[in-house]
C-alpha cells in the first residue's frame, strides 16, 4: 500500500515524514556528483562530509542554496534519491506534500512537482513553509486571532501572519543563516587575512555568534589558511567581532519581520502584543536573535520547542488530513 509522505526540502536540511509513522529521515540537503559522468555519489550526511574536501572531479553542493532551485537537474535527482530511500517506487505511488519557500517561482514550483511525479508520486502538492511551520509549532491557527510565525532557515527568512487557517500577511527574503556564515568568512578574510571554509564559519556562528549582546561573551581560536603565506594559521575571534561581522544579514532578517508586521491588519496588532511571535528554523537559534527581534519590534518573541522539525511536522499533519486540508496547498484557492 502507498505510504503518503511529507517532505521539508530545506536549503540546509531535508526532513521526511511518513503518514502514520512520523519523521523517518533528517539530513543535510547536500548531494555529491561525479562531474565526469553526472553520477550521484552520495547524499545527506555522507555528501556533507565531502564539502570542501573533494578531488576536482567530484562536486558536493547544496542545490537549493539561497532558497532558489539553482540546478533543476540535480534537484530532481535529489528528490528521486530521497523518495527511493524511503521506499517509493512505481508500484507504491504515494501522495506527497512538499514544503517550499513561499517566494518560489512558477517555474521552480513546476520543477519540484514534476520531479516528485517522475520519481513515483501519484500526486505532488506544495505548501508554503511558514504555513506548515505554524501548524507544526502548534499555534492556534484554527481561531480568528493573529498568529505570527518567523521561519529563519539556511537560505530564507519567511514571516507570516495566519488566522482562521489562512495566510493574512506574508513577507519573505532570500537571506538566511548561510548568509551569516558567508559574512563571517568575508570578515575573517578581510580583517585577519585568513581564509576559512563554510563549515568552519558555521561552527564559529554556532559557538560564539550572537545577534545581540548575551551574558557570556566568549572567544574562539580559529584555524584557517593565511592568504599571504598560504600556510595554516590560528587566529583568535571575539564574540563582539563576530556580532559586528554578521550585523548586515541579521539586520535584513529583522527588517523583513518588521515589514510583515506593518502589512498585517491593525485589528491583529493587539493579538501579537498579547501572544507574541513564534520563531522556528535553525537560523532562529542564533544566540540573541529572539531578543533582538523583540527589542526592535516591541513584540515578545518565543522560540518553538522543535525549531528544526516544526515545518515537516506541519506538512505531516497535512498528509494525515489530506482531504480536509487540501485548501492549504499552493495553487488551491482558499
Amino acid at each position: 500500500m502507498a505510504r503518503d509522505l511529507a517532505i521539508d526540502l530545506g536549503t540546509a536540511n531535508t526532513l521526511v515524514y511518513i503518514k502514520g509513522r512520523g519523521i523517518v529521515l533528517n539530513e543535510p540537503s547536500v548531494i555529491a556528483v561525479n562531474r565526469r559522468n553526472g553520477e550521484v555519489l552520495a547524499t545527506g550526511h555522507d555528501a556533507w562530509d565531502m564539502i570542501g574536501r573533494t578531488p576536482s572531479y567530484i562536486v558536493a553542493v547544496r542545490p537549493l542554496r539561497g532558497g532558489a532551485i539553482t540546478d533543476f537537474d540535480i534537484t530532481e535527482r535529489m528528490i528521486r534519491q530521497l523518495l527511493q530511500r524511503v521506499g517509493v517506487s512505481r508500484f507504491t505511488r504515494p501522495k506527497v506534500v512538499i514544503c517550499v519557500p513561499s517566494a518560489i517561482t512558477e517555474v521552480e514550483r513546476r520543477a519540484v512537482t514534476d520531479a516528485a511525479r517522475r520519481a513515483g508520486a501519484s500526486d505532488a502538492q506544495l505548501i508554503e513553509q511558514p504555513m506548515a511551520a505554524a501548524i507544526g509549532a502548534n499555534l492556534p491557527i484554527d481561531e480568528p486571532v493573529g498568529n505570527m510565525v518567523i521561519d529563519i532557515g539556511g537560505g530564507t527568512t519567511e514571516t507570516a501572519v495566519i488566522s482562521l487557517g489562512g495566510i493574512v500577511a506574508l513577507e519573505a527574503v532570500r537571506v538566511g543563516s548561510f548568509d551569516i556564515d558567508a559574512a563571517i568568512q568575508n570578515y575573517v578574510r578581510r580583517e585577519h587575512g585568513v581564509a576559512i571554509g563554510e563549515r568552519t564559519a558555521e561552527e564559529i556562528k554556532i559557538q560564539i555568534g550572537s545577534a545581540d549582546p548575551v551574558g557570556d561573551e566568549r572567544s574562539a581560536d580559529i584555524r584557517g589558511r593565511d592568504l599571504v603565506s598560504g600556510l595554516p594559521k590560528t587566529i583568535r575571534l571575539t564574540a563582539e567581532e563576530v556580532r559586528f561581522a554578521i550585523d548586515e544579514p541579521v539586520a535584513s532578517m529583522v527588517l523583513s519581520v518588521k515589514r510583515c508586521l506593518s502589512k498585517a491588519p491593525p485589528e491583529l496588532a493587539q493579538d501579537f502584543l498579547a501572544r507574541g511571535m513564534y520563531l522556528v528554523g535553525g537560523g532562529g537559534m542564533l544566540r540573541g536573535l529572539a531578543e533582538r527581534i523583540s527589542r526592535e519590534t516591541s513584540v515578545p518573541v518565543r522560540m518553538s520547542p522543535q525549531p528544526l522539525e516544526a515545518v515537516v511536522l506541519g506538512a505531516g499533519h497535512c498528509i494525515e488530513n489530506y482531504q480536509a486540508l487540501r485548501g492549504m496547498f499552493m495553487g488551491s484557492h482558499r
Partner: protein, 90 residues
C-alpha cells in the same frame, strides 16, 4: 351520385379539419404546460443545488478548521519525537 359523394367528402373534410385544429390546440396547451412545469422544476433544482453548494462549502470549511484544532494536531505532533539525527551539521 357524383354530387352526393362530393358533398359527403366535404363534410368529412370539415370534421377532419376541426379535429385537427382541436388536436393542435391540445398539443399546444400541453406543450405550454410542460414547458412551464419544466422551468419550475429547473428553478427548484437550481435553488436546491445552490443551497447544497453553500452547505458543502460550509461543511468543507468546518472540516478544514476542525483538522487544524489542537486536538486534531496532537497525534501528528507526537510523531516528532522519533527524529533520527538532530538536523544540525555536527
Amino acid at each position: 351520385m357524383g354530387y352526393r359523394r362530393s358533398v359527403d367528402r366535404s363534410a368529412e373534410l370539415s370534421t377532419n379539419g376541426a379535429t385537427m385544429i382541436a388536436m393542435g390546440l391540445v398539443a399546444w396547451v400541453f406543450a405550454v404546460l410542460a414547458a412551464g412545469c419544466g422551468s419550475v422544476l429547473l428553478v427548484l433544482v437550481y435553488l436546491d443545488h445552490r443551497a447544497s453548494r453553500i452547505d458543502d462549502s460550509i461543511a468543507s470549511f468546518r472540516r478544514h478548521i476542525d483538522a487544524l484544532s489542537p486536538e486534531a494536531r496532537h497525534e501528528s505532533m507526537s510523531h516528532g519525537n522519533s527524529t533520527q539525527g538532530d538536523g544540525r551539521y555536527f
